[in-house]
């Protein structure tokens, strides 16, 4: 962990703090009894606001989680920091790809 990774991790954390509060509210709303997939999609379909909000959230989460995993690997597994860094980048790309695909699925389909 150096200053550059630290800045990215803390910055994405600070960015996500308010986003998570809203997400918890969304979770509570979306899981109330009787909500179907069609109900959800009718709200998200074609919405720039949803796309922007969750697009940013996914990007921030991908960066934040991969740096966190990098630290865990470097500290708890017998791997070098460089190896941990490469695995982390791979995971970050995976998360970003899956996440943006999910956003597209809800907004574009």
């Amino acid at each position: 962990m150096n200053v550059r990774l630290y800045v990215w991790q803390r910055a994405t954390a600070a960015l996500m703090a308010p986003l998570v509060f809203v997400h918890i509210a969304v979770i509570f709303y979306a899981t109330r009894q009787g909500m179907t997939a069609a109900d959800i999609l009718s709200r998200t379909h074609g919405s720039i606001a949803w796309a922007a909000y969750y697009g940013v959230f996914v990007a921030a989460a991908a960066v934040h989680a991969s740096i966190g995993l990098r630290n865990i690997m470097a500290e708890w597994l017998p791997v070098t920091e460089r190896r941990a860094g490469r695995c982390a980048i791979g995971f970050g790309i995976l998360l970003a790809a899956l996440g943006l695909r999910a956003v597209a699925a809800l907004v574009l389909s």
Partner: protein, 243 residues
């Protein structure tokens, strides 16, 4: 004759990195410290026991050991406060190589002190006027709050990140670097901030605050390290140091 209350069952680490705990029976006395107990074993039971102490009054930091799982100054730890049901387990400080029994090799601790640039870099010569340092500026207050470290190693022994990350400089080294960052006479801050911003530097700290909890001098390395984090981020964003 000092009054004997009962008997203590004391387990002491014997050996080096490999070894075992051996148990001794020691008379418990009033106002007895853990250092008294270790000293009793060495003087009356087993003279081959190795341990360190110097001042025995809580000003030198030499007698730090792991007592019932926690790193402490043994001369300032009263047996009555830590011996649950008459049992004590005493080992060498964690996170440092064991030389023998209760003594550890502190060389790595001091190497990291140097690596964090915990050394004053002068900006003037004897021919310049003496700089007036006011004690009440925020920078001097910050430095004074962190300056009383006597290198006992308790924070280093108690730190999870030191345990997990071999290159982590540790709370003591970083706290000293922080005092120099706040010293207006010091000229080495760019190099110092660069040193603590590298891998293993202040950013490796996870803010567990064990160092703050354990420091026998009531210093706050967590706060010092947080200060370094803020200064290095500012320097990095301004392009004064590199990642």
């Amino acid at each position: 004759m000092p009054e004997t209350l009962a008997e203590l069952s004391v387990s002491l680490w014997r050996g080096a990195q490999q070894g075992r705990y051996e148990t001794y029976v020691v008379p418990q006395r009033e106002s007895q410290t853990v250092l008294d107990v270790v000293t009793f074993v060495q003087r009356h039971i087993d003279p081959t026991l190795s341990y360190r102490f110097a001042c025995r009054v809580g000003v030198c930091g030499s007698c730090a050991m792991t007592v019932n799982g926690k790193p402490r100054w043994t001369c300032r730890t009263h047996v009555s406060k830590v011996a649950d049901s008459g049992r004590l387990e005493i080992g060498p400080l964690e996170n440092l190589p064991v030389i023998k029994d209760l003594t550890t090799d502190m060389e790595r601790f001091f190497e990291k002190w140097q690596a964090a640039k915990g050394v004053f870099a002068p900006s003037q010569t004897r021919h310049d006027a003496i700089v007036q340092i006011r004690p009440d500026t925020p920078a001097r207050r910050a430095a004074d709050a962190a300056i009383e470290c006597i290198n006992c190693g308790v924070c280093y022994a108690g730190c999870d990140t030191v345990r997990w990350n071999a290159s982590y400089l540790g709370p003591a080294a970083l706290t000293r670097a922080w005092t120099l960052v706040n010293d207006e006479r010091d000229a080495g801050n760019t190099a110092r901030l660069q040193a603590v911003a590298a891998a293993g530097g202040c950013h490796a700290c996870h803010t567990h605050q064990s160092c703050q909890e354990l420091c026998p001098q009531a210093l706050n390395p967590t706060a010092a390290i947080a200060g370094l984090k803020r200064r290095t981020v500012a320097a990095y964003l301004k392009g004064e140091i590199e990642a």
